[in-house]
Symmetry: C2
Subunit: 414 residues, 2 copies
């Protein structure tokens, strides 16, 4: 166990790069085990294994049109001028098949989705018939198989239907239900304990007063966790060592995200505690904002120490916590943002040796860096279209340079 005073005093003299911190965050992290859930409501969940159909869909020959189930050859030569009469011997409705088979010269009235009776090999659509008492006249021929779905036409027994890792869409839910692969095995959603601490914090929904501020980080982090498929569990604490210790060691979390008390002052209990209770792999990174980020592990649970300033908190979440949560949930670990490329309308300065998370406003074909760089200026991210990551080896980009922008709002173009 490292010495507490060492951690406290070391400050950020041994900063890690963004790449080192991300590697530490993801070290040993893999998808959680599967759980079995009803398919209804499983949209957005991640398949934990390949799904192979155990049944044929459809499992019986079905009519694809409303009309008459016929023997195709009985209709050959039919036309409006040469109608061919057929005896109606029954009726087949969805869920209510016809008892009567279709013998030569006969037909069965049939609705879309209904079983095609024995003997029939096509469905003559209603538009190609005339009703004449108890008879039906075919006014056009129909080839064998027309308007008749074959058994297994959609899915056959043994067909691979969806691959492991698929994030389920509405139509995937439809096909899983249709093949009766319900319930289905999906990757368990990671439980993410979000710990915010600070004597200055009042809970969301209350008004700030005096020298207190509203805890805006926990609802933001909870929303980010949900976006990334996790289940947030928010814990709000005073600046008290014992409370923080308890929140760090309590069982039930798959990953812990803390916010606040991450800097190097003596009140900054979180990195110290993580080092005492477990292993503090990274504290302090060469990034702006978010320098006071840390990465550790407490009782086997990866713990990401985020700064308390809201922009730094958001950026560090996206760089380090998001990839861990998505990986645990079986999702791709990369950025969850779409990208666009635009030309800078102004110089974007950075410092060699430091990764910058630069907020950008897209204006038509150009991108304008937001001048305000303060890590506490939340309006710089709510007003931005997205951000550009300037790597440590770059000193920024000149006006006119084409840059890749990660878009906050799905698309950078509003």
């Amino acid at each position: 166990m490292p010495n507490t005073e060492d951690i406290r005093m070391r400050g950020f003299r041994e900063r890690s790069t963004v790449e080192e911190a991300l590697a530490a965050a993801l070290d040993g992290v893999k998808a959680l085990p599967a759980e079995r859930v009803p398919v209804t409501g499983s949209t957005g969940r991640v398949l934990a294994g390949n799904v192979v159909s155990g049944i044929d869909v459809p499992a019986f020959r079905r009519a694809m049109m409303d009309g008459y189930a016929v023997r195709a050859e009985d209709t050959y030569g039919a036309s409006a001028y040469n109608p061919i009469p057929l005896r109606v011997v029954g009726s087949s409705m969805p869920g209510h098949p016809s008892d009567a088979p279709v013998v030569p010269g006969a037909c069965v009235r049939i609705m879309t989705g209904a079983p095609i009776p024995e003997g029939a090999d096509a469905v003559l659509k209603v538009e190609d018939t005339r009703r004449s008492g108890n008879l039906v006249e075919a006014t056009a021929p129909v080839p064998v198989g027309r308007n008749a779905a074959r058994i297994g036409e959609d899915v056959r027994v043994g067909d691979p239907v969806l691959a492991s890792g698929t994030v389920l869409l509405p139509q995937d839910v439809g096909i899983l239900v249709a093949i009766a692969a319900d319930p289905v095995d999906v990757v368990r959603r990671p439980v993410v304990r979000v710990i915010v601490s600070g004597d200055e914090l009042v809970p969301p929904g209350e008004a700030p007063a005096g020298h207190r501020i509203v805890d805006s980080n926990s609802p933001m982090l909870a929303a980010l966790v949900e976006r990334d498929g996790g289940i947030p569990e928010v814990v709000r604490l005073p600046d008290e060592r014992s409370a923080m210790e308890e929140a760090l060691v309590e069982e039930g979390a798959d990953v812990i995200v803390t916010s606040g008390a991450a800097s190097v002052g003596s009140e900054d209990r979180v990195p110290v505690l993580v080092g005492e209770l477990g292993d503090l792999a990274v504290h302090g990174i060469t990034m702006r904002p978010s320098a006071p980020t840390g990465v550790g592990t407490v009782r086997g649970v990866r713990t990401i120490i985020l700064p308390g300033n809201p922009v730094a908190c958001l950026a560090a979440y996206d760089f380090f916590a998001g990839p861990v949560i998505r990986t645990l949930g079986g999702r791709p670990s990369g950025w969850p943002y779409l990208t666009v490329t635009r030309t800078l309308s102004r110089r974007l300065s950075s410092q060699v040796g430091r990764t910058d998370y630069a907020r950008i406003v897209v204006e038509g074909d150009t991108a304008r860096p937001i001048a305000i760089s303060g890590s506490s200026i939340l309006s710089s991210v709510t007003g931005a279209s997205g951000f550009v990551v300037v790597p440590a080896e770059s000193e920024g980009y000149a006006e006119g340079t084409e840059v890749t922008i990660h878009c906050y709002r799905g698309t950078c173009v509003s």
Copy 2:
């Protein structure tokens, strides 16, 4: 009220175009009234009005670094070789301000986020100091205002913060909480009654048997409704006129979506009923799949009649129901899919006078149309990357043509 027999018999002789059907679906539809909700958990909701801040953030001068609150001029000329001693007269912690003001030659120990005491005009960071008993030595100068957040630096009273219509992101939730605009007015989510009917349907989770099939449309539609910000309310009915009538007229839905029993046969009660109970504006459209789609209004509630075949159901939902639900919820009515452009690796045929919803597999730089066009082949949409809409005036596209693909899975590139 139109005559029932007329509707039944008319069949699809008077088909509407896709554009006419969409216009009928959206006719008179506008965003629902606002409701007030807690900001925590409101991600993805749509702001019902502009939000203007009622407070300054921060509401007091805050330290941006750990260190010492000083009078900047006291540090001028300080260096490692010429350290300037300052008396520590107090301590300011977040939520716990210093009682002592900073007088000339004095300083107050301060943590990030803590209030800057009276008399101080800068924060000297801890790295630029040396502790020496009860004194602190400044080893570098600090300019006025450095590391000190001004009142209203992030948001000022009266600042516009977020615009009406904004779909709330995690950081938007953060700023709304921070300015105490909590609860907040958002557009009410539309309640979407999803009515599926058919004697052949067994509920999701059960195995199909005999001539029965699993109702795969209602869980798919419920997922689509949720994607579009609606609250689905699924009603599964046998083919019974009275049950359907009740489901169509019962109060509480903002929009109704039906699936199944939409064709022209005599069992197809839904369009007939909609015509009897209200107004059937459209029945039958020049589109493949989804020809049996209908649009009507029952007791003031827009009612979209979707085909029962799953692919047709999905396509008709996306063309006609989705835009209505999104508009009611205050969202943009356009496609919710991202688009990519690719070159066709095979001819994509269509028929002049008919809009086609053609499923496509993206393969590198090319797009391959899926040959299977059956409206019941759900595997054609779970296996597809997305779809191309071929407008009615087109007879399709030759191999090598560049087409725009709407991507099912966020991106067409997996």
